[in-house]
Amino acid sequence: MNKYGKFLHSREEGELAYRKIRDLLEKTSDDFIFDFEGVLVLAPSYCDEVFGKLQVNFPNRIKIKNNTSHGLKVAFETVEETGGLNFNWV
């Protein structure tokens, strides 16, 4: 994910990332693993806009890796709790 930036925030940026990832997912039936190595900040709005939508629209095809930072975990937990979602971790 760090190719999208070390600071992942704002719904607009999330929307742009979502569209790119959605286009890739639509071209294949493979599952996608998202590696958070190198990401320093993840805001819940960005997380929601990308991974909340991916989990809803491509259920069980995305997995999250290297989300070891507590700051990143809280963003994912927030999206899980507010969206009634469960992410798959690697």
């Binding site: 600071f7 925030h9 704002s10 320093l40 993840l42 709005s45 809280v74 507010t82 969206g83």
Partner: protein
């Protein structure tokens, strides 16, 4: 949080477009009070050409040191020069005051803020959470007022980040001059009648100002929920929210007490939070 009484004493509008700041009765202003003062000046007195500082003291020195008068004057479209060089009272820790019309300007500061927090001794996790919390509130301030700012003059967000090194605490205030919580949520939740109800609703998970069925049936709303999780389930701290005339203290997840519902603000919201770290 009775700082609004102090602000009334502090701010005086004199003749000929001079705004007087009298610090005689003022011995302390926290980050919240400082952004509230900034907003109060802009909204109450829109056509100022000069400042007069009466009875300067350590508080006025602090305001000078964070660029309060300089940035306020820039919005009024005049140049303010303090009589003496601002004293760096906040050199043990950080204090950053910013006032901008575009959120991209705040975003450009994110990396700098994160680096400063790290160099102040915070862990990566704490710096990450505080930076994300700050950016989230900024994002909300602009998104919720998109196309709804009362006028172009009101399209402003003012922030102050203060690091209390000895308290091991970061205080952040984000104030905007927009339409407030009720104005933001009323369209989607037409039964709302006042600011208290609106803030209470916004505190709940998945409350969103966006239309239903946005984004393929999925419409999350989670900025304030995230902030509450960090304050009440994580780092520990305090959270206050003012929307137009109403100020609440959030006491635990989705719970609050009303501190004041007759404040002299017609517009805007101010999110003020303190996060403690070890």
């Amino acid at each position: 949080m009775d700082s609004h009484k102090q602000l009334k004493l502090l701010l005086i509008h004199s003749l000929e477009n001079v705004l007087v700041f009298d610090f005689q009765e003022i011995c302390l202003l926290d980050s919240f009070a400082i952004t509230e003062l900034f907003v109060l000046a802009l909204t109450s007195y829109p056509n100022i050409k000069k400042f007069e500082i009466r009875n300067p003291n350590s508080v006025s020195d602090y305001l000078n040191s964070v660029g309060f008068f300089k940035q306020l004057a820039a919005i009024y479209n005049f140049t303010y020069k303090p009589e003496a060089d601002p004293k760096a009272l906040h050199n043990k820790g950080i204090a950053i005051l910013t006032a901008h019309e575009e959120k991209s300007t705040f975003y450009a500061q994110a990396e700098n803020i994160y680096s400063i927090l790290l160099s102040s001794g915070l862990s990566n996790d704490t710096a990450s959470i505080i930076t994300a919390s700050f950016l989230e509130v900024i994002d909300n301030a602009f998104i919720h007022n998109l196309g709804k700012w009362p006028t172009n003059y009101y399209k402003k967000v003012v922030t102050l980040i203060h690091h209390h090194e000895f308290k091991k605490e970061i205080a952040i205030s984000v104030a905007d001059l927009g339409i407030g919580f009720l104005g933001t949520l009323k369209e989607r939740y037409p039964d709302l009648t006042n600011e208290t109800e609106s803030i209470a609703l916004a505190l709940k998970a998945n409350t969103s100002s966006r239309p239903k069925n946005f984004a393929n049936q999925y419409s999350g709303g989670n900025g304030l929920f995230y902030l509450q999780k960090n304050i009440f389930n994580g780092l520990k701290g305090e959270l206050y929210i003012r929307s137009t005339n109403t100020l609440l203290q959030i006491t635990s997840l989705e719970n609050f007490q009303i501190l004041n519902s007759e404040l002299p603000y017609k517009y805007g919201a101010n999110i003020f939070f303190k996060l403690k770290y070890v």
